[in-house]
């Protein structure tokens, strides 16, 4: 995963360094004697006569290229890497009810046809599901409220909901009832259920109880 700048620029750099080195080596060459100098100069003049225009043109082009490369170099010498990020999100459901027990106090059915529970129930539903699927929340009661051999029909217990997606309903001991209408996809929802018991003179005295199981499912 190592990337060393852009190839073309590396070449430019090398060429620059090479030029510098050759200049140094030229200056360290042993001096020529006079006859050799004359021969050398003559050859050089001849070469220049023959090649002055093409050589000059070539050098000019090379010089221009070097300068352009040098001026642009500071911005082009960047190194780039790629890092891939992956994340997995799986289906998940988390339901919280608080408190987990509520009570209906005794009251005169004449004065209080319905009895409010001693507390509302805060509900939090956290769901993770696919963008095109929706979670469900069902309330299933095992049976009627019972006290020894006496019973109060579970259907006499109903609830209202403070806000969507939570919905109002009535307990039914034969069919689990929907307690929320979720939209598609994931989310975190908070609400409050308020329970009431339909009061009746027909209820025999006693301490009644029933258990409601709430099941949150993220498909």
């Amino acid at each position: 995963m190592t990337v060393i700048i852009e190839r073309g620029l590396t070449v430019d750099l090398t060429e620059q360094k090479t030029t510098k080195q050759s200049a140094i080596s030229k200056s360290s060459v042993k001096p020529l004697d006079e006859s050799e100098q004359q021969i050398h100069l003559r050859r050089k003049e001849e070469n220049m006569k023959n090649n002055s225009r093409p050589t000059g043109t070539l050098l000019s082009i090379l010089a221009a290229m070097v300068m352009v490369a040098m001026m642009a170099g500071s911005t082009l010498f960047a190194a780039t890497q790629t890092l891939t990020i992956n994340a997995t999100v799986s289906a998940r459901a988390e339901l919280t009810l608080s408190p987990s027990t509520i009570s209906f106090a005794d009251a005169s059915p004449t004065i209080s046809p319905t009895i409010a529970a001693n507390s509302t129930v805060a509900v939090t539903a956290n769901v993770r599901t696919a963008a095109n699927s929706k979670a469900t929340l069902l309330a299933a009661v095992s049976g009627d409220l019972t006290s020894g051999g006496d019973s109060i029909p579970a259907s006499n217990v109903s609830w209202t909901a403070s806000a969507g997606p939570f919905i109002a309903g009535t307990l039914n001991k034969t069919t689990a009832q929907s307690a929320a209408n979720f939209a598609n996809g994931s989310g975190s929802y908070n609400g409050v259920y308020t329970f009431t018991l339909a009061n009746s003179w027909s209820y025999n005295t006693g301490s009644y109880a029933a258990t409601v199981t709430y099941t949150l499912t993220a498909p």
Binding site: M1, T2, V3, I4, I5, L9, L13, Q16, T19, K20, A23, M48, K49, S52, R53, T55, G56, L59, S60, A63, V66, M67, M70, M71, G73, S74, L76, F77, A78, A79, T80, Q81, T82, L83, T84, I85, N86, A87, T88, V89, S90, A91, R92, E94, N126, V127, R128, T129, A130, A131, N132, G185, S186, G187, S188, A218
Partner: protein
């Protein structure tokens, strides 16, 4: 004869110019060697109620070697190519939910190199390493630990995105 002299003069001027440019610090071509290991990291699924930030599967080691960088400020920055995208083609996790903590590892950098923690962006490059001049000990290393903010709102599925790690100097 005039042409020859002109050619010589041009060559000489060019040689001087090139030499001057080459030796000038302000025009020196700062060069970087950048290594990012591993090239891919993953975030496993976790319960947002108990894990608010998911650590990545591995620490990303970013190594940078700077040469020809005398007196020049430089940086290594991260730029996301977008939000984390779900394979469903619809769902996204905003890339700002990806953060990192960067800490120096290996030999210290005497030129004020620093590892920088931050939050990912897809629009503004975010520095992960900053420095001045050459890396005196050969290279400067930062261990980068990426974290993904975990939220219940994320739809299920595999998400992916690429981050470009780039060196830069003003």
């Amino acid at each position: 004869m005039i042409e020859k002299k002109t050619a010589h003069l041009a060559i000489a001027i060019l040689a001087l110019a090139v030499t001057w440019v080459w030796s000038s610090p302000s025009f020196a071509a700062i060069a970087f060697t950048l290594t990012v290991t591993p090239s891919s990291i993953s975030f496993p699924d976790a319960n947002p109620s108990s894990v608010s930030q998911i650590p990545a599967s591995a620490t990303v080691l970013i190594k940078v070697r700077v040469t020809n960088g005398a007196n020049q400020n430089w940086s290594v920055h991260l730029l996301a190519n977008g939000d984390l995208l779900n394979s469903d083609g619809v769902s996204k996790i905003p890339i700002a939910n990806l953060t990192w903590n960067a800490t120096m590892t290996g030999r210290a950098c005497t030129n004020g190199c620093t590892c920088v923690s931050g939050t990912m962006s897809a629009t503004v490059p975010q520095d992960v390493i900053r420095g001045l001049g050459n890396t005196p000990n050969g290279q400067f290393n930062c261990n980068t630990n990426f974290l993904l903010n975990n939220q219940w709102g994320y739809n299920t599925g595999p998400y992916t995105q690429t981050i470009t790690v780039v060196t830069a100097s003003p």
